[in-house]
Symmetry: C2
Amino acid sequence: MAIALNQLGALDAARRLNRRELTAVQMVRACLARIEQREPQVQAWATLDPAHALAQAEALDNGPVRGVLHGLPLGIKDIFDTHDLPTRYGSSVYSQHQPVADAAAVALCREAGGLVLGKTVTTELAAYQPGPTRNPRNVAYTPGGSSSGSAAAVADEMCPLALGTQTAGSIIRPAAYCGVVGFKPTAGRIARGGLKSTAESLDTIGGFARSIDDIGLLASVLMRDARLRQLDYDGTPRIGMLRTFQWRLAQTESRDAFEQAALLLARAGADVQEAALPAEDCALVQLHADVMAYEAASALTYERTQARKQLSTRLVAMLDAGAEIDTAAHQERLARAARARERALRWFDQFDVLLMPSTTGEAPFFEQGTGDPLFCRVWTLFGFPAVHLPFTTGPQGLPVGLQAVGAPGQDQRLLAVGRWMHRVLQEG
Amino acid sequence: MAIALNQLGALDAARRLNRRELTAVQMVRACLARIEQREPQVQAWATLDPAHALAQAEALDNGPVRGVLHGLPLGIKDIFDTHDLPTRYGSSVYSQHQPVADAAAVALCREAGGLVLGKTVTTELAAYQPGPTRNPRNVAYTPGGSSSGSAAAVADEMCPLALGTQTAGSIIRPAAYCGVVGFKPTAGRIARGGLKSTAESLDTIGGFARSIDDIGLLASVLMRDARLRQLDYDGTPRIGMLRTFQWRLAQTESRDAFEQAALLLARAGADVQEAALPAEDCALVQLHADVMAYEAASALTYERTQARKQLSTRLVAMLDAGAEIDTAAHQERLARAARARERALRWFDQFDVLLMPSTTGEAPFFEQGTGDPLFCRVWTLFGFPAVHLPFTTGPQGLPVGLQAVGAPGQDQRLLAVGRWMHRVLQEG
């Protein structure tokens, strides 16, 4: 049975578009049809301009093949500036914001032939206050945040690829809740110009796809690195199973997924070992939260001081708390994080990747907020690359998977080993 | 003889404003009068709205004292977003750009009671293509760049403080050419939200003033650190005199200033030694230029790919060259820079500060461009704090001074020792 065009993976669609066996207009039409059908329930999109998306597609169809993303419709988290669509950062403060230029990441995608299908819902200023988006697997549940719309749109086959950002757990968590691949590269690898800043030492650009090969395609453009399109792996992956200090907070489904994955990966030939945690690192989750609060209070000074009535109570509370943090204490925290990061680097002498839960469990109910970034905070603080691997389902039938973390700068190896692991987990 | 209000230093004016012995309206009027008189020659301002500046001043005079910058008129480099004034980044691409919000640095200044007098001229996108600004000491010469207008405005007593940024030598160089204090703090210490990105691992926010105490006042707000207002120093400064690998490119006036400073500082009681350079670091100046080109090609992808006809030939050439740089080569350069930075840290076991030329010499003629950032590139690459100390004049009667560089994170010590050194140099 032929699958609908909107169901095509990015790499598959890109190959057909590149050979002109498929037009960008066909691809956009299929995505728009899916959105028309599902958007009333899912609410993944902050701004959608079908006529403009089709016009971009026509221009691409009528011109030369521009690059590896030629004709692919992209969902862009509404925290990235776009010159041709309003950009509201999930806040009424920016209800009238029409950027002059594209964010660097968006422009890199367009340079490679990608087209902006629309802007996806972000939580308020990429922090914790949810937008309207529902989990497409079951709309009673949250899709996670802050990249809510990007994860939901890719999961619901509204588009093959989407951009997101992570400051705490804003890529890995929604990827896990929606059951798609989410990738947060090594910090500093993707230019952040034109991205609304939330917490500068933490904000990291990444994306969503439905396979590791697809996310490699997107990452190769954003990171200007063709090696990310070569993810063959024929070694014996050394996998460190890391329970973390938050293990007791993992629900049954996350623990079961972890144990089952260890068995499957070992059976498939991986070298699977328990990774031990240095006791001095037990406070890193709180340390991340404190660093984020301090930096957000600076980055969002305008909003905190001149537009506070337009912010959620929750965000004001975080920013006010962050503004009270003493700079000497903040510097001491950054120094502690740097020392812990140095210790963590030693893991990668022994392991290619660390594997651990992505989330405490399945997605919470929509009304309970976007979930806890607990298992992601430390890796964002360290700037290590992380990828979410969809795996199984939990008691509510919602997705549950695992997070693989790699050594900084070893993004290609993380995705290559991640691809190997993902295949093993999918084959079960 | 009473000095005019526009000639008051920031700290002095702030004290009077704080005690309500001086009103913000008086201060703004004095600055505007100076601008009216001198702007036709100097051309420091990209946007000036006198009525709006006076309205801000009136509001401050009619409200409570808001903070340590209360009522001080600030020049803001036109590379920082301002919610109430257009922000053009020195490029016609942004001729219609009116930001919704203030950049974080601007909002921090306003929170402390500072008022935005106007936007100062930047070179094109903070790169090398000059704006119209002239050196206020002699308008036949360049003020330096990219923070051309901020340095010129402070030097010409149009405002007591101004914000700038440095990606190569864009604070230290114009400070040297115009004969004012310029300060580039440790990288990462001032939030960059709302700042147009040129090269992400290099862009550093700082500022200009006419004394070290004044720049400490501004830095204390931007860095959220009251310690920067306490710059008393009663130790014996250990000063490493660093000729650098570019010594042969220093002109006579820069060499003379260097030698004379060493004598004066030793005579005043400092422990003055020659600092030796590791031979493997001779290529760092070029390495910085390559890192900047690669990162600028990413950060300015929109401009490079969708607005190139509006860019200068020189900028297009840099961006196109940067876009050709292989990412693996770039990563290797960053790794080399990190190793060189580790070696450089050892200097600070022996010295409190390193002292060296800020520029090759006096300002070049206006027609020759904004000068060479040669002596600044390495410290921007390393993210070490640097401050320009005005000292003497050269053969054309233009300012010549020296650059003091401190250990990363030791901004307070750099300014405290810098203040001690500046007094010695001024007393001669």
